[in-house]
Amino acid sequence: MSGVNAAGWRPTMGEAGEALEKFVTSSGDYGLMLEEPLSFELGAEGKCGVDIDKPDRAPAAGLSKFLRKAAPDLPGLTEPETVRHYTRLSRQNYAIDLGPFPLGSCTMKHNPRLNEKMARLPGFADVHPLQPQKSVEGALEVIEQLADWLITLTGMASVAMSPKAGAHGELCGLLCIRAALDARGEKRDIVLVPESAHGTNPATAAFAGFKVQSIPATPAGRVDLEALKAKLGPNVAGVMITNPNTCGLFEPDMKAIADAVHEAGGYVYCDGANFNAIVGKVRPGDLGVDAMHINLHKTFSTPHGGGGPGAGPVVLSEALAPFAPLPFVTRGPDGGIHLVEEENRGEGHGRAFGRMVAFHGQMGMFTRALTYILSHGADGLRRVAEDAVLNANYVLRSCEDLLPAPFAKSGPCMHEALFSDAGLADGFSTLDIAKGLIDEGFHPMTVYFPLVVKGAMLVEPTETESKAGLDRFIGSLRSLAKRAKAGDDSLHSAPHFAPRRRLDETQAARKPVLVWQGAPGEPGQPSLSEIGGS
């Protein structure tokens, strides 16, 4: 039995980390910690991964002036070198399939493999948007079914399926509002945006040509209803509210806000990015919302960065529905499914404000989202919201004795827990905790956002983490908070166990180097004029 590790001892990264300080390897790599050069630095002249035949005929008329005089400056790599380069790089990445992403506001949750299986079915994966509609009726039916679910879940009148992401959906909603105002012959040009809204909201309003006015948050982290009412008037086109908001709180005055805005002749845009916290529990249509985007790639799985891309359909109230952008999936009198586009917009979409994308939206995401919805069912979606909120509150209550949670006093949070770095030892801040999390093997949480909290740390565990997984994360966060409160200097130089130590983020932002410049005089180095620099 002498060979059995009865005590359960395992080597720790701490000892491995100290070993790194002592030994210098010839390759610069440390076992599985790789020092990967750029592909340009790896390549050599005369090496090539493919054999390309010399062309056997002259170029077509008029094209000869475009013939290359010299070989392109591409890194000379063999195929295995190329494969290894990218595989080695991918091993330095942190991914949702390796561990949790506690990032707030950008839910990074598990993407069920079933979604991928469905999205890869040839009838969905291999269709072309210009195919005859008769040959893609199944794909159109996926869009129709998903649209029905979104309308049902939100209690709204209609949904524009084509916007490609959250901010694109915001723009769609505001263009609908503008079209509705134009139809009323009114020139309202102010959009009110509370401090608790997502940062994209004011940017979208400005991009859509509106003037943005900010509404302060109450000390409890919610929209100040009285301050909002005071700003309403004949020039206010509408309000953009994120609910649940980016402090991780539900806006309880939503209905009162919507009523006041409607009474003043404006429209209510709701940023539905956090819909995963209330899906199956609250229908935004019942709260007086006129337009809301839904991040399919968040509420209904497939996080961006974990597979993406995004899709941001916008649900619309009766008042805005007539102005929704084309195209629409609809059924004719014979029950046949088809698309309403410019040529046949007379079929109930004559007032559409236009078109936001060339085709019908992000088909791959539609398939994944519908798979997620159908595999969970209505009761399962409600559980999604319950578990997302339960997990966030578990993190909140497990850490609030060490990290102040400024808005936790007013009750439970929704899908994300918000902490402040107030109370850490002098000279320690949110950044030290975030870098420390890398050493602990976690992706850091969202830092310094929202701005209404000093040194904000925003944690969104999502519904897909188990209690055991959350306990591991909480253990790490508590340990880091204790070290920062005790003034543990080693935290200032974290991360210690990453391919790079603490980077100079200020210098990177002030003097970014965006183009590979190689060593002076090296062959293959592009000159500044070649790369369009100055």
Binding site: Y448, F449, L451, E505, T506, R510
Partner: protein, 123 residues
């Protein structure tokens, strides 16, 4: 020459009908390392409370609101290459823009240095 302060942590130093505007030392301390400053164009007409400039730091992008109405006279060109001046010298060399006041009476609603210091104490 008189210096006034706002609750949004801007300072304005007024001489005649011209005011020089920047953010306070307290504000730069809260923002952390400044990486970029977006400045208003000379000649722009602005109203008190308008967002006229943006200060980017490693933590956040923050709007700067003009404490008074008027016309932008010029902006601090040195900040293009040295945004860190706002960190090292917020209330002098790190000034953001100069403005020709259209309504000097607006200054009456602002704080003096003593009042601003007391205000910061409450935060």
């Amino acid at each position: 020459m008189t210096r006034y302060f706002t609750e949004d942590h801007e300072w304005i130093e007024v001489e005649g009908d011209t005011g020089t505007v920047g953010i306070t030392d307290y504000a730069q301390g809260q923002l952390g390392d400044i990486t970029f400053v977006e400045l208003p164009d000379a000649g722009a007409t602005v109203a008190k409370g308008d967002s006229v400039s943006v200060v980017d730091s490693v933590k956040a992008a923050s709007d700067v609101y003009t404490p008074v109405s008027g016309t932008v006279a010029d902006a601090n060109a040195a900040l293009a290459d040295e945004p860190e001046l706002v960190n090292t010298d917020a209330e002098k060399g790190g000034w953001l823009f100069r403005i020709t006041l259209s309504d000097p009476a607006e200054l009456e609603g602002l704080m003096d240095e003593t009042a601003y210091k007391a205000f910061v104490e409450t935060l």
